[in-house]
Symmetry: C2
Subunit: 278 residues, 2 copies
Amino acid sequence: MILFMNGQFIPEELAVISVADRGFLYGDGLFETIRVAGGQPFRLMEHLDRLQRGADFLKLRVPYNRSELAFAAAELIARNGMIDAILRIHLSRGVGRRGYSPRGAHSPTLVMSVSVLSEEPRPTCWKAIIASFRVAADDPIAQHKTSNKLAPILARMEAEAAGMDEALLLNTRGEITEAASGNLFWVWRETVLTPPLSSSALAGITRSAVLELCHKLGYPTAERPLLPDELKKADGAFLSLSSLGVIELSEVDGANLPSSPITRALRDAYERQLHQPG
Amino acid sequence: MILFMNGQFIPEELAVISVADRGFLYGDGLFETIRVAGGQPFRLMEHLDRLQRGADFLKLRVPYNRSELAFAAAELIARNGMIDAILRIHLSRGVGRRGYSPRGAHSPTLVMSVSVLSEEPRPTCWKAIIASFRVAADDPIAQHKTSNKLAPILARMEAEAAGMDEALLLNTRGEITEAASGNLFWVWRETVLTPPLSSSALAGITRSAVLELCHKLGYPTAERPLLPDELKKADGAFLSLSSLGVIELSEVDGANLPSSPITRALRDAYERQLHQPG
């Protein structure tokens, strides 16, 4: 596999960083996970926009402009002969002085890589638990896709230890924020709902894509804080992931959730859109 | 400079890790910062114990036992001719499969490095702001020294942008948890107080050392949640840092704090202890 790193295309085994990189030391960075379908990165510009917003938030310099990054992505996909794949961009603050202050860290590290989307049939339905710990409500950091990912990692570990597929996260107000690996939606009659960003949900690119599809297909949408008990009474629920698209939730914390025709309609529409050029 | 990495002593410039290391991707790891005084790492065993507790929490394997780590630390300090220095141990989960699940990541990365303690006179007094965002209260992750450090990094950036030295963090209940780089103490008459771990404070090794010194010197201690207004009425306040020891706070959010003789007594006792053998 070839990677793009700090301006060069290099073989995977040569793609190494200093152990003093602040990405490694403190998770001081950001990333994007982008679906590649038919050789094309899906909604790449939205991902690059979010990366830039995150970089502005962390006061971190993106060392290439959007068109340079888009060009590198296309070249990387082509050089690796990728058709259905996951493209990842990791940006860290690079090497600085000892300690938390980013003073003196002026050379960010940017790595772009691709990996084949698993050839096994992708899941369409997951069972979830609710993680035992809570994340901060109203957390400004949570809106960005940063490299501080221990909360979803620990949540996912709890799910796997319980023999489940995924975990939902609660914030300190007891509201469900999102799943470890994507945003949460639920269906109530004809309406498609999702927690607001103030619940500490990530501003997901696939979340936006799903909301747009709802408008296109005529389903009303709303942002609403969600308590676990309300989710268990929903007419259906699903997650939106950049990597896997729309995945239905069939169970949350032992409660069965009905399968909604709206979830299936959105999943089909999303998959069709993935394969439309442009 | 020589580093210890995955069992070998190697020059700094050869100490590199894969860009697929989960430490770099997600901050999926832990670290310890240990003061070296007179060539001896201070309270090394307590730091190694905390590293082990963090590793148990993250279900991460520490690839060496305590005596191997202590031997490597001593050898590293000697090879680099360090007298007054900072020893750092970083442990990450290493390379795994794509995604948050740690399945398949079986080779943790362990890096130990030393750096000279700055020869400039060390600060004895800092001015602090209170960071604008809040961290989760009762966060089990916060008790461990993980590599997810964006909250203290952003807090420190806010402080520096305001021309201040340090930032204190609030939790979602509005309690002060700790400073970006160490635990907080305050003095009320003869009593030395510090927030409980349930405020989401790190179980600092220097925090424990300071509490022990209080007992030795005859100052009563207590753990108590702390609101900013109470801090501003304190008879004194200070931070405890593994790297820098006891640092007095002279100002918080524009309010002057009195200098307490108890702070000075604890700082002197701590510095003396650093240089006692054993």
